[in-house]
Structures are given as structure tokens and as C-alpha cells.
């Protein structure tokens, strides 16, 4: 069946079996290999992409359910010549070792910073009536959907905190 997707600002028509996940559609049909397949059942977050501005696991959703949706993958966040602030910070802070989880981490963190800016509370937020603070605990909780088996977490959190602090000042 045909599905129309807007991927990284470009209109794409997909012709695939309706059981094709969004992750497989991105990788195998649209050849966007930045989105990674880790566990393939929603536990690791390596396949995180943004759909209409929200972060989701692309392995847990069917491509055909996203007809008309806007999808942003790591390729849409920035490339070698136009790295986003988070991508630069991950390099500066060594926020990876093998790098397999990194596209998912960066897509997830991109959405997370927007969520914090919108004032959403998390489970770690002590007072849900106040704006969430940018603590290590808060970032860890909000990034809990992205695993890093090399355990680069301290550097990942440093990278995110740097960008978050920059956003707060601007």
C-alpha cells in the first residue's frame, strides 16, 4: 500500500506491506541508515525519531499509520557540515563510545529540550507545579528511554546539560 510521509522536509511516497514498521521503512525503503535498529521492541531507544515534533520509537509503529505525518530523523537534525548544537556537544563531551545509540540519543534529547521548555513535569520533578530544573537526575529520568550499553551516560548528560544551559541563557 502507498503511504505519503514528509521525511526531513521532503515528500516521500512509500509502497510497502502495511506491517512494515516505520524503522524498516526509513532504513530499507528510504535508505536513511542513521536511525538504528537496536532491540527492535521498544526497550533501547536507538530507533528514536521525531513524529510531528514528538519523540517516538520507530520500531513500535507501522509506517502506514503515519500517512501525512512529519518525520525528522538524525539526518534531518544535522549533517557533517551543519551539526546541531547537541551534535556538537556530544562530540565535545565524548558522549559516546561505539556510537550505535547516538542518533537515538540525539533525536530524543532534541525533543526533550523542547519538552522542558514547554514546562512538562517528569517523574523526577519534585514539585510538579514548578518548572522542571535542569539537574542530572531530571535529565537521566527524561532520557530513560535511551540506553547506552557502553555506558557513556555521564558524558551524554554533560553534553545535554551544556546545550540546555545555553538555551536557558538565550
Amino acid at each position: 500500500m502507498n503511504t505519503d510521509l514528509m521525511v526531513n522536509g521532503q515528500a516521500q511516497r512509500l509502497d510497502a506491506d502495511p506491517r512494515t514498521t516505520l524503522l524498516d521503512a526509513l532504513r530499507n525503503y528510504l535508505h536513511l541508515m542513521g536511525t538504528k535498529k537496536g532491540c527492535d521492541h521498544g526497550q533501547c531507544g536507538a530507533c528514536t525519531v521525531l513524529v510531528n515534533g514528538r519523540r517516538i520509537n520507530s520500531c513500535l509503529t507501522l509506517a502506514c499509520m503515519h500517512d501525512g505525518d512529519e518525520i525528522v530523523t538524525i539526518e534531518g537534525i544535522g549533517g557533517p557540515d551543519d551539526l546541531s548544537a547537541l551534535q556538537q556537544a556530544f562530540i565535545a563531551h565524548d558522549g559516546f563510545q561505539c556510537g550505535y545509540c547516538t542518533p537515538g540519543q540525539i533525536c530524543s534529547a532534541t525533543a526533550m529540550l523542547d519538552e522542558i521548555a514547554a514546562g512538562w513535569a517528569s517523574h523526577a520533578t519534585k514539585n510538579v507545579a514548578s518548572l522542571p530544573g535542569l539537574t542530572v537526575e531530571e535529565i537521566s529520568e527524561r532520557m530513560s528511554g535511551n540506553l547506552c550499553r557502553c555506558s557513556a551516560y555521564p558524558n551524554i548528560i554533560d553534553a545535554i546539560l551544556e546545550v540546555a544551559a545555553g538555551k536557558e541563557q538565550s
Partner: protein, 281 residues
């Protein structure tokens, strides 16, 4: 190999009409649909419910709240709701990570009927009912009568859950949810406890406690609820909970914990929940 049918109705009448024929697998958030199919994709007929946008959102009525079936966990977290929803909101924040909360629906959590479904204890403590629609009309069932066992519900193949209804408590109420997993985040629950207290003049005027992951479906604790009623609403409520109050649970041994551990942990979580609820001002 046949791909199977795929249908994405935009209106409820189209959806219930399609369901008359039977044979559909209903998919909304999909967060528990695909994990079961990673090893082997098989032909199936998918009724994609995500086009039924009228079923998403939370509405307030004079005596109850109506949570549309397609309301996602994130929608619930973001919604300005009275304090007695705090337990359900706490549960929502612990359903997987944010990526899961952005897709998973509350009705999906109920229809999936996992013994470890995080939403069930909290909704039992809210005395929730579910609304089921079919071409023949609408019926409403208490949640406790809807979940029949491990992955078994009273939903008939031609029915669709359209909403979850929660009555407004008669008196000022407070609510909490506690979950124990093998680690802090992104885990399937070993034990969960949800509690709601109605408090009047410093005493418990009504209590609803529910424990999840300790039986085929989450269970209320009626003997404990009766013992709490009339007691001073303070942290001392915790010590009123005894092992006998949990006698109705039937925890199992599985890869996440053994039955004895679950029983011990359930009592501790119930006591923590009551200490927390009693200590609130």
C-alpha cells in the same frame, strides 16, 4: 503470502461497522503490538484506530471525567487535572520512557490486559468504568469486571473501547501510585500499588487500594479499605496494613521475581503508599 487487510477509519461508525465482520486486530499506540511480532511476521488484518481523533482527549462532566480511549499517556501527564488524578499521572510517567508515553494509549493498556499493566491499579483506585461501543450500541462496565485475567477481557470481538469514565470523589481526595521494578526506569513492574483516600475532618472517609502484578489482574483490597475507614488520616495508617489484607492476591514465580518476594514487596509498598497518603496535607 497475503499481507492481510489494513483499514484506518476516520469515524466511529465506520470503525464499528468494520468490526461487525470480525477478525480484526485493533491497533492504536502499537507499543505492545509489534514486540510480539518481531520474530515472525504473519498475515493479519489490522484495524488502525489512530484516525479516530474524536476519541483522544479528556473531558470534565458534572459528576465524572471522561478519558477518550485514544488519550495517550503524555496527554494525561500534560492535562490540568484535580489532585485525585495524581496517582494515575504518576503511573503515566512510569509507563516505559517518554517515547512510549508519546504513543501508548490508556485504553490500549486496559484492552491488552497484562497483569503488569501500570494503568490498571491506578484506574481501579479511581473506581473507573469503561465504555464499549459496537454497531448495536454502547455498554458501560466497571473496570474490575472488564479485566477477566491475564490478557483476557470482557471486550467482544465486535466491540471497541471508546472511553474510560472516572467518577468525581464525593469528598476531598488524594491519590498515589508506587511501582517496584528491577531498576528505576523502563521496566516491567514486579509490584505496583495505587491508593486513593477521601478525607473528611482529619479522618479517612473512604479508601480504595489496588495492587498490580500480583495476580492475573490487579486486585482491590476490600478488607484493608474497610479497616482504614474512620481512622485518623496520618502516616500511622501504614501500620494498619497486615499480611492478611493481601490474602486475596495470588502472585506467581516468574523471571522478574518469585511469589514470596512479590508478597513481601506488596505489603511494603502498600504501607509506603498509606504513609505517603496519610502524611499529605
Amino acid at each position: 503470502m497475503s499481507e492481510g487487510r489494513y483499514l484506518r477509519p476516520q469515524r466511529l461508525d465506520e470503525a464499528v461497522d468494520a468490526l461487525k465482520g470480525g477478525g480484526w486486530n485493533l491497533v492504536a499506540g502499537g507499543t505492545d503490538h509489534y514486540p510480539a511480532r518481531v520474530v515472525e511476521q504473519r498475515p493479519e488484518d489490522i484495524l488502525d484506530l489512530t484516525g479516530l481523533t474524536d476519541l483522544r482527549g479528556i473531558g470534565e462532566f458534572p459528576d465524572h471525567f471522561r478519558i477518550g480511549a485514544l488519550t495517550r499517556w503524555t496527554d494525561l501527564i500534560e492535562a490540568p487535572l484535580p489532585g485525585w488524578f495524581d496517582g494515575l499521572k504518576q503511573a503515566a510517567r512510569e509507563v516505559g520512557g517518554v517515547q512510549i508515553q508519546n504513543r501508548g494509549t490508556i485504553a490500549g493498556n486496559l484492552c491488552n490486559a497484562s497483569p503488569a499493566a501500570d494503568g490498571v491499579p491506578a484506574l481501579l483506585s479511581l473506581d473507573a468504568s469503561v465504555e464499549l461501543a459496537s454497531a448495536g450500541g454502547v455498554r458501560i462496565l466497571p473496570l474490575a469486571d472488564f479485566i477477566l485475567g491475564n490478557r483476557k477481557t470482557a471486550r467482544r470481538p465486535h466491540e471497541l473501547m471508546t472511553a474510560i469514565l472516572t467518577p468525581k470523589p464525593a469528598r476531598p481526595a488524594r491519590a498515589r501510585f508506587l511501582k517496584l521494578g528491577a531498576r528505576r526506569y523502563l521496566v516491567i513492574s514486579i509490584v505496583m500499588v495505587a491508593g486513593l483516600l477521601e478525607v473528611e475532618e482529619g479522618r479517612v472517609a473512604g479508601a480504595r487500594l489496588a495492587v498490580g502484578s500480583c495476580s492475573a489482574g490487579a486486585q482491590r483490597l476490600p478488607a484493608l479499605e474497610a479497616a482504614l475507614t474512620g481512622q485518623p488520616a496520618d502516616a500511622g495508617l501504614a501500620m494498619l496494613a497486615t499480611p492478611e489484607h493481601l490474602a486475596g492476591l495470588s502472585p506467581i514465580d516468574d523471571i522478574r521475581a518469585d511469589a514470596g518476594y512479590r508478597r513481601d514487596a506488596a505489603l511494603i509498598l502498600v504501607r509506603r503508599c498509606l504513609a505517603d497518603l496519610g502524611g499529605l496535607r
